[in-house]
């Protein structure tokens, strides 16, 4: 049997038949159909089932207000919980029925998702008559206009004029889902879903629009509200306006024999339309006792009986649970009608969700029998207006609509009055909530879950407010409505990700030498967003062996590494010295041109925030280096202190991190290598001392050479404008016998010298003194009472307690067992089954050391400096390693190797 009319259907293209399937059953349809209209057109009434009750459910509405008909799309990339009323059909569309919850399709969704930011002076939400009028008026003012409408096309006669306007952007199949602060609205455009396999693969399937609008006009219209009664959820029970819409848009008869029950004039008009379309209407009932005569006459002309002051008191289902009989109580008692359609309409709710999201208030209007926009958003700068039926509810009504939601239902039947079919929540649940003492609509919503399903109460939310008012015995105006929050309709995660997935999910930052590292096939380590060479294995070499070899090369010969990721900041101005004195713990202003100094920065709480070097390039120009990870935050810190606290200081800061590619050259033979590459540079210990810099020509390239060491060995940093970074790397690599090393070896070498890494050996609770670096705090500044960031915190008693955690070294007592990073330090032989195990600190860094001939670690240990020689257990995954506490500088503590 088919309910498809031979003609009609404003959205149908009858020249393009397609075949879709539900649970493997083929269903004929036309391009332009939704899944709901196609199913109704073929008399497929069962679409879903109650999540807990398992009761059969069919199509109830025609748009976003649908609360029943959700399916799992299994063709294409697949998608759970799709509203049948908004799912446009295409050849090959395949869906499965679901009971209240779908499932995430397996595998990766390879279709494209997209985002666009748009700016306009006027955003119009809704492309109906009122919306088109507002948009044309705005366009006539010569401003940029965006119009969003969730239907496939605008049907207004003036749509062509609008679409062709150069400053108007019309987005169809686009649902505005969020009205956020600062006039920022978010919309979802469904671009190719309706094309199925014909969708061009390069065209993003859906697009998320971020619209910044100076002014927002809501022309969102209304959403139909049902009436409820026992067994109101059967397939065959529909909204009257939806039923009439299926006739008009899709040429589909929603039923053959029906009863209509309404509470307002538009519902009666829908009944007339259904009668005209050929539905045999046994009776039309209105809860009101007075209706508009013209509508009553229209029904009479069609021979349709009209009963006033009537209400539906129940339905019967057939063996499948589908609607079979309606029990209608009129002035003359209850009459039972055999039907396959019961069309109900309790009113038209203004679609005020976006108004509410934006912070606007709602108030019950008796004239509209619905919640209408009241007080505007508290942000007076949010120019939000509402036009058309979204402001007034029904339009053109002559006789006022009734404020009516549900008749008298005894407790035995209340559990079959469904107030949220998706949640299988009922009138009995609301009564239960009331008995539990809940009176607020927000509380009742959360207690009963009504309105929390994926339709977010669009179908039954206002109705539930009315029912609650009945239960409480209070007027609807006092009960009020819940607050609407984004998103208006659900949006998939793929859309939130947009093209920020896979390789583009997070920027990968690379240095000027990156192609060399790739060509060498070295494993890369993620350091923040940077990719850095981790180690440089020779053929068949393990990481352990490679790191030991690289360490030995630097300790005994010479090595090179790509140190380009160091943060670098040029500071310029007459007061930079003073500024740096205030942000570093040490004294910087006394630094001479040509010299470099190590510095530690604290946050205001006195904890170590970063460390690095300061080079003085000229009287008023300085170059700071920072740790790789803190380059941006150090620049921000400098800017913040200077701009907010010390604007009188003449100092400006420019990041130059990527301006300079840096090759670190380290090891006792590094001086010889540098001498060979830079014959004009005096590299002698006297001519180029530790912590000095020189401009030089190295391998024919312009290079700033800094004698800095992060390994304790004789070492240089070669800074070259990054365009020559690759060339410098090649030149040093071919200087002969220079071993490239990676970040792992760098970590081992610095740890052997007890150089902490901020962020690895510190965690924001560690002072310079805790690190054993009291020497980095300028005694002169302290003596003279000069302030610097963190100074006051460092002299607090708390900062100087003897039991603070200190940085110490650890070696395994057996001289061979590796210590794991992150191990907890407990008493030697502590009972690990105790709860809790008393804990004294933890391991922050741990490595094998070729220089020491033993594994070693750095750790933060309670009162550690007073516990040298003590034995503890370092416990990782319940396995203890007996360790001995040592000085934190295990290798070359006198620093004798620095000069080669």
């Amino acid at each position: 049997m088919s309910s498809r009319l031979p003609t009609g259907g404003t959205r149908l293209d009858r020249s393009r038949p397609v075949t879709i399937s539900i649970d493997g059953q083929d269903v004929p349809a036309f391009v332009g159909d939704t899944l709901a209209s196609a199913l109704l057109g073929s008399d497929v009434r069962l679409v879903s089932a109650g999540i807990y009750s398992g009761r059969p459910r069919g199509v109830m509405g025609v748009g976003a207000e649908e609360s029943n008909a959700f399916v799992q799309v299994t063709s294409g990339p697949g998608e759970p919980m799709v509203r049948a009323t908004e799912l446009e059909v295409h050849e090959g569309l395949s869906v499965e029925r679901i009971a209240g919850r779908g499932w995430l399709p397996e595998g990766i969704d390879h279709t494209r998702y997209d985002k666009v930011w748009a700016h306009c002076e006027v955003l119009v939400v809704g492309g109906g008559e009122a919306g088109v009028t507002a948009a044309l008026e705005a366009a006539a003012r010569g401003v940029r206009v965006v119009v969003c409408d969730d239907r496939p096309a605008l049907t207004d006669a003036r749509a062509g004029e609008l679409v062709s306007h150069p400053d108007v952007r019309v987005l169809t199949r686009t649902t505005v889902v969020g009205a956020h602060d600062h006039h920022h609205l978010v919309a979802v455009e469904r671009r190719t879903d309706h094309l199925g396999d014909d969708a061009p693969p390069d065209v993003a399937r859906r697009r998320l629009w971020h619209v910044k609008a100076a002014e927002v006009v809501l022309a969102t219209g209304t959403q139909e509200r049902p009436l409820v009664f026992p067994d109101n959820d059967r397939p065959g029970v529909m909204l009257a306006g939806a039923a009439a819409t299926y006739v008009r848009r899709y040429g589909v008869l929603p039923g053959h024999r029906g009863v209509v029950w309404v509470a307002h004039d538009d519902g009666l008009a829908d009944a007339v339309a259904l009668a005209d379309a050929g539905v045999e209407l046994l009776v039309v009932a209105d809860v009101r006792t007075t209706v508009t005569p013209a509508l009553a006459d229209a029904l009479a002309e069609r021979g349709v009986p009209l009963v006033l002051g009537a209400e539906v008191v129940g339905t019967d289902g057939d063996d499948d649970g589908f609607l079979y009989r309606v029990h209608l109580r009129g002035p003359d008692g209850v009459v039972v009608h055999d039907v396959d359609l019961l069309a109900v309409s309790g009113g038209l709710n203004p679609a005020v969700q976006l108004w509410s999201q934006a912070g606007g208030k709602l108030a019950w209007s008796t004239e509209a029998a619905g919640f209408v926009p009241a007080a505007p958003p508290p942000d007076a700068a949010y120019p939000l207006s509402v036009v058309g039926s979204a402001l007034t509810g029904a339009t053109g009504a002559v006789t006022a609509p009734a404020t009516f939601f549900c008749g008298d239902v005894d407790d035995a039947d209340a559990a079959r009055v469904y107030l949220d079919p998706q949640r299988d929540a009922t009138l009995a649940d609301v009564r239960h909530a009331h008995l539990a003492g809940l009176t607020s609509v927000e509380h009742v919503k959360r207690f009963t879950t009504i309105g929390t399903a994926s339709d977010q109460g669009r179908g039954f939310g206002v109705l539930t407010v009315g029912v609650l008012a009945q239960v409480l015995g209070r007027p609807v105006t006092e009960v009020g409505t819940t607050t609407y929050r984004p998103p208006y309709t659900p949006l998939p995660f793929g859309l939130l990700a947009g093209r920020d997935r896979g390789a583009l999910s997070d920027p990968v930052r690379v240095t000027a030498m990156h192609d060399r590292h790739l060509a060498a096939g070295v494993p890369l380590e993620d350091v923040g967003q940077w990719k850095r060479p981790w180690y440089f294995p020779q053929r068949g070499e393990s990481m352990h062996d490679a790191v030991l070899r690289e360490c030995r090369a630097v300790r005994e010969d010479v090595g090179m590494m790509d140190a380009s990721t160091l943060g670098k900041i040029v500071c310029h101005g007459a007061d930079v010295g003073e500024m740096l004195d205030r942000v570093y713990t040490g004294l910087m202003s006394s630094l001479k041109v040509g010299k470099v100094r190590y510095g530690v920065m604290c946050s205001p709480d006195g904890m170590v925030a970063d460390d690095g070097t300061v080079a003085r390039l000229s009287d008023d120009e300085w170059l700071l280096t920072t740790t790789t990870g803190n380059a941006a935050s150090v620049l921000d810190t400098l800017e913040e202190w200077q701009q907010t606290e010390w604007p009188d200081l003449d100092a400006r800061f420019t990041s130059v991190t990527e301006q300079w590619a840096v090759v670190a050259l380290a090891g006792p033979r590094s001086r010889d290598v540098l001498a060979g590459l830079a014959p004009d540079l005096d590299v002698s210990a006297e001519g180029f001392a530790f912590m000095e810099w020189r401009d030089a020509t190295v391998a024919g390239l312009p290079v700033r050479v800094m004698r800095i060491s992060f390994s304790g060995e004789l070492a240089y940093e070669l800074h070259v404008p990054a365009a020559w970074g690759g060339a410098l790397w090649d030149a040093v690599a071919s200087a002969g016998g220079v071993t490239p090393y990676g970040t792992e070896t760098m970590h081992v070498l610095r740890a052997e010298k007890g150089y902490p890494i901020v962020g690895q050996d510190t965690d924001g609770t560690v002072t310079p003194v805790d690190l054993g670096m009291a020497w980095a705090i300028s005694p002169k500044k302290v003596r003279e009472g000069r302030d610097f960031v963190g100074a006051r915190s460092l002299v607090r008693d708390e900062s100087n307690r003897p039991d603070r955690r200190h940085l110490v070294g650890l070696v395994p007592v057996d001289g061979s067992t590796a210590i794991a990073e992150g191990s907890q330090l407990v008493d030697a032989g502590a009972d690990l089954a105790a709860v809790p195990v008393p804990m004294h600190g933890h391991v922050t860094s741990a490595y094998a050391s070729v220089a020491l001939g033993t594994p070693f670690a750095l750790a933060l240990l309670d009162g550690g400096r007073d516990r040298l020689g003590e034995e503890l257990d370092a416990v990782d995954l319940r396995v203890p390693v007996r360790v001995r506490v040592t000085e934190p500088v295990p290798y070359d503590p006198e620093g004798e190797r620095r000069d080669g």
Binding site: V116, K212, P507, T654, T657, A661, A722, G725
Partner: protein, 172 residues
């Protein structure tokens, strides 16, 4: 010797080029431009043949043709340094790189990843804005009704080039 050393330079994209071309869109990279960051003067620095972008009230980015000097600092920076005493003049030729987008679709491509309003009525020829594009910090300046210059930090250049190629697919 100078020519040989100049030939050793590599742009942030290495041997790859950014070369996107559609009916109403082209995107190319312009490596080796001379870029100089100037702060501490409210007077726009003037350099022959260069764009000067205003990044802030006393902050400028000079975008000049490539230099043929082998030096730690480009000659443009050196001459600005003496012309603008007291200002901070920093050569950033290698810090950033330049992507040029032309054609009616140029703005549309950037709108896929940039929240800034790039309408010519908001960003006229000669004006520049800073912000985020595809998670990378950029400055974007307009040189013509349909032409935008984009300055991106070198370490982000490959990411942004890949993103631009991907964002352009519907415009090719």
């Amino acid at each position: 010797m100078t020519a040989e050393v100049l030939a050793l330079r590599e742009g942030p994209l290495g041997t790859e080029r950014l070369d996107v071309s559609g009916p109403a869109l082209t995107i190319v990279d312009e490596p080796f431009r001379t870029l100089v960051d100037v702060r501490g003067t409210t007077t726009a620095p003037v350099v022959d043949g260069a764009w000067t972008w205003r990044l802030g009230p006393d902050w400028w980015l000079v975008d000049a043709p490539a230099s043929d000097a082998v030096a730690l600092e480009s000659p443009v920076a050196t001459s600005l340094r003496s012309a603008l005493p007291g200002a901070s003049v920093v050569d950033v030729s290698s810090l950033r790189t330049v992507f040029v987008l032309t054609g009616p679709d140029a703005r549309a491509v950037l709108a896929h990843g940039c929240s800034l309003d790039l309408d010519p009525r908001v960003l006229p020829v000669g004006a520049c804005v800073q912000g985020m594009l595809a998670q990378a910090q950029v400055s974007i300046g307009r040189t013509d009704a349909d032409a935008l210059r984009l300055h991106v930090r070198a370490s982000f250049a490959r990411h942004l080039a890949a993103w631009l190629r991907d964002a352009s697919v519907e415009y090719l």
